[in-house]
């Protein structure tokens, strides 16, 4: 069941004219993905792997529609080459709504392994990131989405377990 916070995320995406969204699911992202899938102004295209998703988003952006990807932080390991040689090299704006698994509150030990590398990887890649720990931070999403379009860069929104559990 989507929460009001999931709805706030959707509303921000729509307000910012994001018309093309690809996703690979995560439990924490289920509510947002459901809303995105049902929204008629958004073309939701599930991808099999996040690098494929970045190709789809690039095409949609070049075709004139703002795009975004919804994925888990583990996907960074899958998508580095695409982020660097496609998204960054061709200056494609790409907001990435990322469930930041493996932070405090995590139940699956394996998720911690990639959590440890998440911020260092983003720093190494010169990708701006915003760490969401409380539901009210969703109010900053409009600004972050505008920022990505303005600077034509990928940006990461890292929404951790505290963020999702504080969501009502």
């Amino acid at each position: 069941m989507p929460t009001p916070t999931d709805k706030a995320i959707l509303d921000s995406l729509v307000r910012n004219k994001i018309g093309f969204i690809t996703s690979v699911p995560c439990k924490q992202l289920a509510g947002v993905i459901e809303l995105v899938d049902n929204h008629e102004e958004i073309y939701h295209i599930p991808s099999n792997k996040e690098d494929e998703g970045m190709g789809l988003c690039t095409g949609a952006y070049l075709g004139g529609t703002r795009s975004a990807i919804i994925m888990q932080n583990t996907a960074l390991g899958v998508a580095i080459n695409s982020l660097v040689t496609l998204i960054q090299y061709y200056h494609i704006p790409l907001p990435m709504l990322i469930s930041y698994r493996g932070e405090v509150g995590e139940k699956v030990a394996c998720q911690v392994e990639m959590a440890i590398h998440t911020k260092p990887l983003l720093q190494q890649l010169n990708i701006p990131y915003f760490h969401f720990t409380k539901a009210e931070q969703v109010n900053g999403l409009d600004g972050i989405l505008q920022h990505s379009q303005m600077c034509k860069k990928p940006i990461a929104i890292l929404a951790d377990a505290s963020f999702w559990s504080s969501a009502s």
Binding site: I45, N48, E52, G55, L56, T58, G64, S82, Y89, Y90
Partner: protein, 187 residues
């Protein structure tokens, strides 16, 4: 016939159309044969040509031809399922199947051995899948364009590259002139 011969025979059809072209020799050869603002060349990111092409096709009405390679499709094989399940009738995926990783010295791919990309595309649910010889490619491409149906063409050809230089242009320029062509063609 090798990839270059196919590109040469289809160049007149590609003129003033939206084309997304695979990394390495395919882009370099196309650049020499027919450079135009509506060509998007991949400088890296092996595998994503078909995904980029589908993305463009889904958000606007002009036909989009993605010229991909067997090795690149194999590396992003699940793209065929995404394409099958998100059909865009203005999308044509032309897979130049030379059974090799051409750009890197024609090392054999599995597509030249036991694996049929044609069968894989069909198994993924793609509807209009055509396998043809290099010689038949231009005619099949014309047919696909006039059918107004999303089509996957697998063009079987010989391995081999011609000697062309690297593309001396910058990616941001390539992206913006491509984007502008899309706007113009749709206006």
């Amino acid at each position: 016939m090798i990839r270059y011969d196919i590109l040469k025979t289809i160049a007149p059809i590609l003129k003033e159309r939206l084309v997304v072209c695979n990394i390495g020799s395919p882009s370099q050869e196309l650049y020499q044969l027919l450079d135009q603002p509506s060509n998007f060349y991949m400088f890296g990111t092996m595998g994503l040509c078909s995904s980029i092409g589908l993305g463009v096709a889904l958000v606007q009405d002009q036909p989009v031809i993605a010229i991909d390679g067997d090795g690149s499709v194999l590396t992003n094989l699940a793209t065929l399922s995404t394409i099958a399940n998100n059909p865009a009738d203005n999308f044509i995926l032309l897979i130049v199947d030379n059974g090799s990783y051409g750009s890197t010295g024609d090392q054999p791919t599995y597509a030249g051995m036991a694996t049929s990309l044609t069968e894989v595309a069909r198994a993924c649910g793609c509807r209009n899948v055509v396998e043809c010889s290099a010689e038949e490619t231009a005619a099949e491409l014309e047919k696909a364009l006039s059918s107004g149906k999303m089509t996957i063409i697998i063009s079987k050809c010989q391995p081999g590259n011609v000697n062309v230089s690297v593309i001396d242009d910058d990616p941001v320029n390539i992206a913006s002139r491509f984007s502008n062509s899309i706007k113009e063609l749709n206006s």
